[in-house]
């Protein structure tokens, strides 16, 4: 059995570990288009901030690929998939046959057309190369504008600020973190950034990037007619699934590469996982692209197992983000911005002064989402109610609303099965 994995991010690592749980013999070939082994992609903000050195980026130990008997080919981009001949061709002119293929090509930054964007001084912030380019550039710049107030934009801004750069964030919508968090959490995070000296401007975006005669950036003209002087622009509006390869091969795509409950695509023997995949979501129970780290690993892992012959259903991803802003921890899990709030029961505890916030979203007798800011120590206990779809009677709901989740609120049989399953002596 030959497994080929296109991509070398966390979904790929999950797949390798999934395959090797069941198949210790088969050949695994991994095609990575970057020049380094898999790294903790979110760590690039820690690297840019100077909190960690490059030696701490690797997601697995140096001998991981050898131990897992993986043929890792770096600087290698897949250029085409032939699902009939079951081959992948690469930019190096190789044609690699596969029995099982995983498409784990991730996402690519979305760069909208902005006049003046072509040229030097405009960056994205999703790869190690981007981070290293920004580290080099930060030495020479005094001011930067970050376009996009999502997770990537905010972390890019914070990290650049830590390098001594004066940063202004432009966010088109009315608040930062609008996708992953709710309004209150977004406001608390924005406040924390503003307190440290980062400019946060909502409801505006870049209209034009202005350059001098030599082509160097001198500033950004915003949609509300302001001019923000800067020497660099980071475009962090979002990522889109890198699904062209799959699409060109005739594999069904929608927003991302469509997969079934086993994470197999429309082509037999071809699976997809991670930010490129449009897979099942646990809460919404439909297939969607939720480009977050744990989903990518899990999809890779379960795709890997299924590629190795397991016949397991992927339970579905659960949207979750944990991120801190200058020591203010924030966590968001599941559905936190329900489309029709009147159909849900929403419990909020907000202490603006101490910057503590808790929001729980209930649908019928289930918890389907929560946000925590400031006090996050019980996060996992809330996650359990969502993930295990536990029914929530009134007494339990009251305890959760008071910020007191715990295992004794679990149904007895779930508790026993989890913590004290019948053993050999029973």
């Amino acid at each position: 059995m030959t497994y080929v994995i296109i991509g070398n991010g966390v979904a790929s690592v999950g797949a390798i570990e999934g395959i090797r749980r069941l198949d210790h013999e088969g050949t695994i070939v991994v095609l990575g288009n970057e020049h380094v082994p898999a790294y903790g992609r979110p760590l690039i903000s820690y690297l840019l901030a100077g909190k960690i050195g490059p030696e701490r980026l690797n997601l697995r130990s140096d001998d991981f690929y050898r131990r897992m008997c993986v043929d890792l080919r770096l600087n290698t981009t897949a250029t085409a998939i032939d699902t009939k001949k079951k081959t992948v061709t690469t930019n190096k002119g190789e044609t690699i046959p596969y029995d099982r293929l995983l498409i784990a090509t991730g996402g690519v930054p979305f760069n909208p057309p902005i006049p003046g964007a072509d040229g030097s001084g405009v960056y994205n912030f999703t790869t190690l190369d981007h981070a290293q380019a920004l580290i080099a550039a930060a030495k020479k710049m005094k001011r930067a504008v970050v376009i996009g107030g999502g997770l990537i934009g905010l972390k890019a801004a914070e990290s650049l600020f830590d390098r001594g750069v004066d940063v202004t964030i432009l966010e088109l919508s009315s608040r930062v973190l609008s996708a992953a968090f709710d309004e209150n959490a977004g406001r608390l995070a924005a406040r924390r950034l503003a307190e440290t000296g980062i400019g946060v401007r909502c409801g505006v975006t870049a209209k034009e990037i202005h350059r001098d005669d030599k082509g160097g950036i001198i500033g950004v003209l915003t949609t509300d007619g302001m001019f923000v002087p800067c020497e660099a622009v980071v475009v962090a509006i979002g990522v889109v699934p890198n699904s062209k390869l799959a699409k060109d091969a005739g594999i069904k795509t929608d927003r991302g590469v469509q997969v079934d409950d086993s994470l197999q695509t429309s082509a037999k023997g071809v699976f997809a996982a991670g930010d490129v995949a449009q897979a099942r979501d646990m809460i919404t129970e439909d297939n969607r692209v939720v480009p977050i780290w744990p989903n990518a690993y899990n999809q890779g892992y379960y795709a890997g197992r299924n590629m190795a012959g397991a016949k397991e259903s992927y339970e579905g991803g659960l949207a979750m983000n944990s991120i801190s802003f200058y020591g203010l921890p924030t966590i968001s899990v599941g559905q936190v911005n329900p489309p029709k709030p009147e159909d849900y029961e929403i419990a909020i505890h907000l202490d603006e002064k101490r910057q503590i916030y808790r929001k729980l979203v209930f649908k019928d007798d289930r918890l389907i989402g929560y946000v925590l800011v400031g006090e996050i120590d019980n996060a996992g206990m809330y996650t359990s109610f969502i993930k295990f779809r536990m029914p929530i009677p009134a007494e339990t709901k009251r305890a959760l609303m008071h910020g007191e989740p715990g295992v004794f609120l679990w149904p007895e049989q779930v508790f026993d099965k989890t913590w004290n399953p019948a053993g050999a002596d029973k």
């Binding site: 992609r41 760590l43 966590i331 996050i376 996992g380 206990m381 295992v407 004794f408 989890t418 050999a424």
Partner: protein, 148 residues
């Protein structure tokens, strides 16, 4: 693999498991110094999460799941599955304190370190001969270390 199984029917809430845990994970290896000094000065903390409701109590810790949610969520590679022992291992040097594991683990088995930007998680007392110290210290056999 052998795991620690807590039994709420037998737990008397004495917290001796926590004391055993901090002692074995202390620099001094001495209960009194661990409790009076290292706990306060270094943020030494037991990896147990003690829960109680009325007369019922239990001391929980990492289950070393077969398919751990924490490993999937870990952005730094600090949490991994040891293919040989089956343990879910934690490398404090790699950890960046992002709290993704704390969010992802539905068993509440991961806690923040009181003073460092790190987590505290059961390591099954891997360096201790005779297995987990909490199990050895439990006076009422409420903690068992066995294959199930």
């Amino acid at each position: 693999m052998k795991r620690v199984y807590p039994d709420k029917e037998y737990c008397i809430g004495c917290h001796l498991c926590e004391l055993a845990c901090i002692t074995v994970h202390s620099k001094s290896q001495d209960l009194i110094i661990a409790y009076t000094q290292e706990r306060l000065e270094d943020g030494l903390k037991a990896c147990k999460r003690f829960q109680e409701k009325g007369p019922t109590c239990v001391a929980l810790s990492c289950r070393h799941c077969d398919d751990p949610a924490c490993v999937a969520a870990c952005i730094s590679g600090a949490l991994q599955k040891d293919p040989e022992t089956g343990a879910t291992t934690y490398d404090i040097e790699k950890c960046v304190g992002c709290w993704s594991c704390l969010m992802a683990c539905p068993y509440g088995a991961i806690q923040r370190h009181p003073t460092l930007n790190k987590i505290v998680k059961c390591d099954l007392c891997r360096d201790r001969e005779g297995g987990p110290a909490c199990v050895a210290a439990c006076p009422n056999m409420a903690l068992k270390f066995e294959e199930r």
